[in-house]
Subunit: 314 residues, 4 copies
């Protein structure tokens, strides 16, 4: 019952957006919008999907809800692209519990963070990933997101676990570009055992120049085509076009800075969902229960930015 013996053949490269979770106004999951969103992302050329990440508001859902969300994504995708799913929980035994449910539904890989709430050493974090990898029937990835986990995954730890076959990839949202560069270099030196994705949607051109295998841009939920174009230009080595696309996306990305006075979760996903609704990609902009809604002023400004970019439906 381990993924260690057979190295993963599943590749996550290119644009792999973290799928947002559309909700009905009462907070229940809007599966119809979710399926439509999945079709949109795949249709736009995304190479994979990241289910149940931070953009998917996964922390705000029960395990039963997470399974429902994963099932809709899996069923709608129908094998067109691979799916990696977040199993965000406090510690290994709890991660394993939800990861197995997600794998049963059909996701292709699992990604998780270091333990939450606990006070652990690097050796204990290594044991955490080893325990999970040995207990699930899918490739395991590490998710490095210090702003939420409050510690950064250590470079030596990642490479050791990669060499052991415990980790198949890293999704880096650490905001530490020097650390990311060192990870890419160490990974090359070790024969590229890890697939390395960046979550930093405003600097994708630079991260691809640096050698990232792929990107997990939350903002692709709002406009996926730009990231696909950016990826394709980079693949051709056309860095001026890559950068120009990034500059255009970043102007559009200003939608995220329109809300004021709200939390990080309310601002980021809230702005995405407001823009997605404005574009007609989903039916409601409702954010997870417990997260504050944007006010009308923020929504108006977001719509204006989209209009400036000709991204509102006619």
């Amino acid at each position: 019952m381990t993924s260690l013996a057979t190295p993963s053949t599943i590749r996550f490269a290119g644009i792999i957006p973290p799928v947002a979770t559309p909700l009905h106004p009462d907070g229940t999951i809007d599966h119809a919008s979710l399926a439509r969103l999945v079709d949109y992302l795949i249709g736009a050329g995304c190479a994979g999907l990241f289910a149940l990440g931070s953009t998917g508001e996964t922390a705000y859902f029960t395990n039963a809800q997470r399974v429902e969300i994963a099932r809709t994504i899996v069923n709608t995708t129908a094998g067109r692209v691979p799916i990696i799913a977040g199993a965000i929980e406090l510690t290994a035994v709890r991660v394993i519990e939800v990861a197995r449910q997600l794998i049963k539904v059909g996701v292709d890989a699992i990604v998780t963070t270091a333990p939450l709430y606990t006070l652990n050493s690097t050796a204990e974090v290594a044991a955490h990933f080893r325990t999970i990898a040995a207990a699930i029937d899918a490739p395991l990835w590490a998710y490095d997101v210090p702003v939420r986990v409050h510690s950064k995954l250590n470079l030596d730890l990642l490479m050791e676990l990669a060499t052991e076959g415990v980790l198949h990839g890293v999704k880096d949202s650490s905001g530490d570009d020097v650390g990311f560069r060192r990870l890419l270099a160490a990974n090359e030196a070790a024969g590229h055992p890890l697939q390395v994705l960046t979550g930093h949607e405003m600097v994708v051109d630079a991260m691809l120049l640096a050698g990232a295998d792929g990107v997990v841009p939350g903002f692709a939920n709002v406009e996926a085509e730009g990231y696909v174009r950016l990826w394709e230009a980079a693949a051709l080595g056309d860095w001026d076009t890559t950068r120009a696309e990034q500059v255009r996306i970043n102007r559009l990305f200003e939608v995220v800075f329109q809300p004021s006075g709200l939390s990080g979760d309310a601002t980021g996903v809230g702005a995405f969902k407001a823009a997605m609704l404005a574009r007609g990609l989903i039916d409601h902009a409702t954010v997870a229960t417990g997260v504050e809604a944007l006010d009308d002023a923020a929504v108006t400004k977001i719509r204006a930015i989209l209009a400036d970019h000709d991204l509102l439906p006619v």
Copy 2:
């Protein structure tokens, strides 16, 4: 289905230790030792029990295991003292899920933290507690432990929720003695709606002088009698005896500083369990899966400190 209408009549005052979770060497729960420990704590004069706190290693257990642990504590206690149980989870919907299971088993109150992993505003933290309180049939307490949650609960927030009847008490492990003092003063000014417990076992004399309602000392798992004596001296206003007992306890508490090179979780609970085993209070010193074990040198030093205090069995 709310605890808001009927103010809690359950009082948690005095010494209310966070019950450790004894384990078999294979990591499964040692219910026999757990029951023996509960009897020891109540027999020593503890006025209540705090189940499934950080000392109870709650983060390392599944919800099913948490329920098992709570059941043994409830059954062994058999109504002799009230029990408050930690429902440590990422967000409100998940807290509610496990809290209801614990309440069904028979715990008397629930304590939980601000959300974990998420990026929330103070207003969202307030909503978190309100949502939970409205959904469970037991008094709700707030657990303030910034070293694990990475944010501190705001004084105005606590008093607002207390006045609304959402919160019935606070377990403060913030290490912020000035903030604690201001909380005690604000609580008095508001008519004492909150029961306020401190988790700082090395400064209990000072916290009682300041006006704390009770104490949650992890170290009582090793020696509960000292804290009970300390509490009784303080209740009589005999501060010199109170302090002398604290000084004695603190010398004994040095057991916690004997391990070196280990994580916070390994060091604290590991030292407690090593001392508990040495004293014969439990059958094994095994810590939760994922946490490193103490080495023999640390255990030897811990036993020596206990011997110095005549706390080893003859």
Copy 3:
């Protein structure tokens, strides 16, 4: 040129307020008010003075201004009580430079922090204090104020430097009451080589119960008599009176929480100076250049609190 050979006979015990620095409206030092303030503090029974601390806004003054301030305090004190002066600078060579100037003016001891701006190990912090102590003709104290220095002084480091004769005392503003308690215990076990003062003005009763040698309460600039009474009650072992005085002081201390939307420096010293002006202790409430002034609303609320405590002049 070292203080190591001859152990300090200067004792700093009791109430040793950090002297505020009154300013003219143009930001220059108001030496007349400063002299008046020194007389007030000594007259009220303070046992020593702490010149050029954070409450003295020392960071906002040039070394030449610091010397001027120290000179007025020394001359006004005229030997009635001992004076310890802050030499707050980036690194040892720079601390030594200003410390020598202050010693020449006549202060009795020097207090400084770990290096600022630099990235140092514990061994380097130890070298920092050793270098300074060897270069100045006055007892050296350590100032532990993590909120400003962004690191905490290590217990083993402090005790090692105390045993070597490098450090004569510690002024603790760390807000870590457990760490403070461990420092007091280690200091006792070592024969009390350190004089240990707390800077936490809202929990002085508790810190004295714990065994602190003295107190550096910024708020004594507003009302010194209360702290002197508190100290005297504690010295008699009358802890109920001690606590009652602290509770009274804390109600008065609410002046500090009246400003809103301002920085830590603007709020704390700003409120002190507004209250001092209202009481007639100084001529202007001007804060250091670079720090924002309180608005009228905050000043009005501060005056109201003073009036409630019968602390405004008739």
Copy 4:
């Protein structure tokens, strides 16, 4: 006496290394090595020099020493390239004092951080920069280095001060690539009032793709030619060559990760100086007083890496 009226015509673009400060074994400044180093850097094609930055160990020197260091750099440079000098001090009045001395010696611009040690609001940080700019006869730059200052300079603040003419440039060592990208975009939108340099020597290719005006690579003290080649390739839009040069530099940069168990200051500058000595660029590898020296094992490893890159003298 202000730089506000006449916009700066001094451009800092290209490779502008932070000049290390060579020392004699007794800790005094080795002016001969310093002059040799300046000649090396200019000869290699650097477009400017950054005197008295963190790599220059400026925090460990008195103002008199800083003036000496600046004088040697100015005199050796003899106008060949512009010089910007760090004025690292606690607050504005103190920054002004040292900045004026450095300007008198002949540096072309001044760079400083937000206040140190103090607790200030964004408005107070703005006032800090405005006060300094108005008091000195040279263009003022902001230095954003949160790892040392413990706060990050706010984007809106920087753009407001740029528009007012208070700030002429930013040296960004924040490690926040998304924030840097947003700064570059805002600066473009405002007509490029700021010259924006990055201090992150391992990701220069990416930062230049993003639009940085120049680079302040500490590692250029070890090998400046690589950064100059990298810059020239980027200027031609040849991103593949740019990246290849960065990859080569990064392999060489591993010298910095050879020391173990030392502080940040000991490791970084210590490794640079050990490599500079090995290459014959300076006469001694002595680091500033107060900073621990590398051990022989680290030096041996550093020499081996240099040998692998054919960078040791024959």
